[in-house]
Symmetry: C3
Subunit: 352 residues, 3 copies
């Protein structure tokens, strides 16, 4: 007889550049997951709200918003990649593929691109990975790189430092074609009249006026994604080690402010989007805790054409999230999230 404490996930010394992890579980998008996560995030795009509208545009049904696709694929990678992480440092080159519908099953795998031990802290290092999620037909729905700060299990263990090149993951953003025979204008009242490509100007900054508090619901939201990281749900563990765990508070899973910032921005910049195309880079610049109210703003950095789609344009934006923290002399605005975001938006000339 023996007492076994299975350690889940991997430590720095377990990663080898070139390793591939095919993640456990997989995840079928039920109407439960779809409704809870889509609506929690305050998404305003009718493609994720209204089946009549989505069908009229030529989609197979309501479309998962980008935040839900991202958190579903990402969460599958947590056990293998970041269950023993200290911090998620950066998202790089996140690209969206075919639309995700209710009923789709997403599975994910991760290639280890790089491993590097910290020169300052003997029990930490950075793992650089490339994660790809596919649907039940094998089509890519999302691919991205991320850099994670991971604990070593043993401070003296050898680390397989090195780097390999990322795989070339062909991603095709499959959007229904523009069809003159469809009466898009009859649906135009269902989205904002002033969020078409023609309405955006380089340099504008939209301070989104709506915001939303995150409650202890975050524990359930994280659980429903199968995200296994303990720092989001093991209250006893973090309470017992406040020095290690930001004062003994559960940290809200980054996917939650990620989705929420996308959702908060959508009434002003994306309720006439057909898809998010790519996030060049992104990071969580401060943690969120239950009780924090999340705000967001969008900076328009450019407006460009989408080759082959005269009905659409691409907005190059920076989406920033922030919260306010009380100080003796008032409130400080603290940036919590930064995302370089490219969105494919409809032109008024074609749709309204």
């Amino acid at each position: 007889m023996s007492v076994i404490r299975k350690q889940h996930g991997h430590f720095l010394e377990d990663f080898q550049p070139g390793d591939v992890y095919r993640h456990k579980g997989g995840k079928t998008v039920t109407e439960g997951l779809f409704a809870i996560f889509t609506d929690f995030s305050m998404t305003a795009n009718p493609l994720s709200k209204n089946a009549r509208y989505a069908s009229a545009y030529g989609f197979e049904g309501m479309v998962c918003p980008p935040g839900l696709v991202m958190v579903t694929v990402f969460s599958q990678s947590v056990e293998d990649v970041s269950e023993n992480a200290r911090a998620n440092l950066e998202y790089v080159d996140m690209r969206f593929g075919v639309p995700v519908y209710i009923g789709d099953t997403l599975e994910a795998e991760t290639l280890v691109l790089g491993v590097k031990a910290s020169t300052r802290t003997p029990d930490l290092g950075v793992v650089h990975v490339q994660t790809t999620g596919r649907n039940q037909h094998g089509e890519v729905v999302l691919t991205f790189q991320r850099k994670v700060q991971v604990w070593k299990k043993s401070p003296t263990a050898c680390v397989a430092e090195g780097e390999v090149a990322p795989r070339d993951i062909p991603v095709s953003l499959e959007l229904p074609r523009y069809d003159r025979a469809r009466d898009y204008r009859a649906l135009a009242h269902l989205s904002s009249p002033d969020t078409y490509v023609e309405d955006f100007h380089t340099g504008d900054v939209l301070e989104h006026t709506r915001a939303r508090v995150v409650t202890t619901e975050h524990v359930m939201l994280t659980g429903i994604l199968d995200n296994t990281s303990q720092v989001h749900c093991n209250q006893w563990m973090v309470s017992e080690a406040p020095d290690k765990f930001v004062g003994g508070q559960l940290i809200v899973f980054g996917g939650i402010p990620f989705s929420l910032c996308l959702g908060i921005s959508s009434a002003d910049v994306a309720d006439n989007a057909l898809a998010d195309v790519r996030y060049a880079t992104g990071r969580h610049t401060a943690p969120i805790f239950a009780g924090d109210t999340v705000f967001a703003s969008t900076e328009i950095r450019g407006v460009r054409e989408l080759p082959g789609r005269p009905d659409l344009g691409v907005l190059d934006t920076i989406l920033r999230g922030h919260k306010f923290v009380k100080k003796a002399d008032g409130a400080e605005r603290v940036e919590i999230f930064y995302l370089e975001r490219e969105v494919a938006v409809k032109r008024r000339s074609h749709y309204a």
Copy 2:
């Protein structure tokens, strides 16, 4: 470059009698929304619980309870009508149409019936509207009037005072016909034996013995309805302005106690109902906050026949909600909700 703070929703000076708002979004009733909202409310009617039972009665599937139909249609009108409201004053002549099923897409529009500036408060006034929700076939599922106290954006702005007549919105309560060939009695154990028309007597008051606390879940419940009002979810905003926002607390969206009172009452008065028919008038008489426990009672004001349906009767009732508030010398019972409610209930003679 400019910083843009888009103001969502309308202010008193934006409303003109006779204006029609076709609301954004629309909403498909997913199994997620259905399960969460139906069950949250403690509904006891098997039509909203048990697909076998609903089908055996001739419905196409499980039936959305009236509270869910109401909050789904209502919430779509919030951005245009009441995102900048101070208070929801009254519901008038709320009538239900065809049953709503999982998978239906509801869209809504609102006609402005009246606008009136306050004579006492320069920055307030009352807007009177008529909102109608329809399914994807264009059939009316709900129509109602409401009166809302709305802020002016500029205290000196002109207000387009006036009134127009409400539209005549034909509503047909489409219930499956009574069919002698169906074995209703084989299902009678699935609902209460003592909530048939024959069991109710004018003047009786049923103090419903079950109650339910509202937790911070209300933020998610309100979000899942796409209700965009900030007073229900923007904790920072209300904390910073306690004088404006009832002491700095998030107010629970009225649709939540509305649904909850309907649900709490259902085990005693509506688990043998086929439908709610009409609410002549209703109002929220005190706010609800997270932590409050909601109770309800039903007064039977009349029991009458439903023309053409000898198998059914109509109960004319008053549904009241209340909570208890601690006082120095005990607890005060505070009424929170008042609804004149007409319910179509089965007769024991035909069903049990």
Copy 3:
């Protein structure tokens, strides 16, 4: 006119050995209920996560995890059996039948096996029942006995003491047959590589390293199951009578730690299970409150063959739940749940 306070549920003096209650309501498993309850519990078995995997194994679709089947059937019995209970004492001989799928409608009935007044406390006694849940085809999905401590309504009422024999409820655990033509190995990466029958040894104790806090979400989780017991959701009632209700706190419905312990254990002992077979006995050994973090461990008591299924084995285990309670001199580990659990697990020889 009269004021009526309908008492729901039964009291000790209402029960007669041999009585059968056909419970109200019934419950269709929506994708909302499935997603919320399955994922809340941290279940790791892909059969409840991944429709592609479940179909490849020959199931009709994703399979409800045992905890969801149990709480759904159990909750239907609450109004009749335990709405007026003081404590749930013991589960006995809980056996699972055919798999439960999304869309199934479960209905339940309960036979009263025994009634016994307390010799020490005049207003209490024990009711012993046998509850059986069936799907819309009449197939048994679950049957179990339980013993409940129930209040008398009147301390002087007569109690119909006595016992009858339990019914013989034939239960067949219908699992898809092992089919050499299926390529199970192509799916093996979706579950753990070290949780096959061959990996378990009698006497081993697995201390599951993951844990999860229960938040006030428990009120909604209990409501979504139609569990009508007031001690889980009527905050006012319990706050007003702290002596009667464990200090004035809402007790978390036992089905929640029951499901959560099953889920927490699954990554280590049941993500390669095809089904839970039987729980010989089980009990809640301490209450859980919002804020408690639930941990679990599994003791392997035996590993045996499953007649007719060389591809499977049965683990005889004890699943224990615990929480930690702060004490002056540290933390005390308090057992909260005990379950003798038999699980049908795949053999590596056949599947990986």
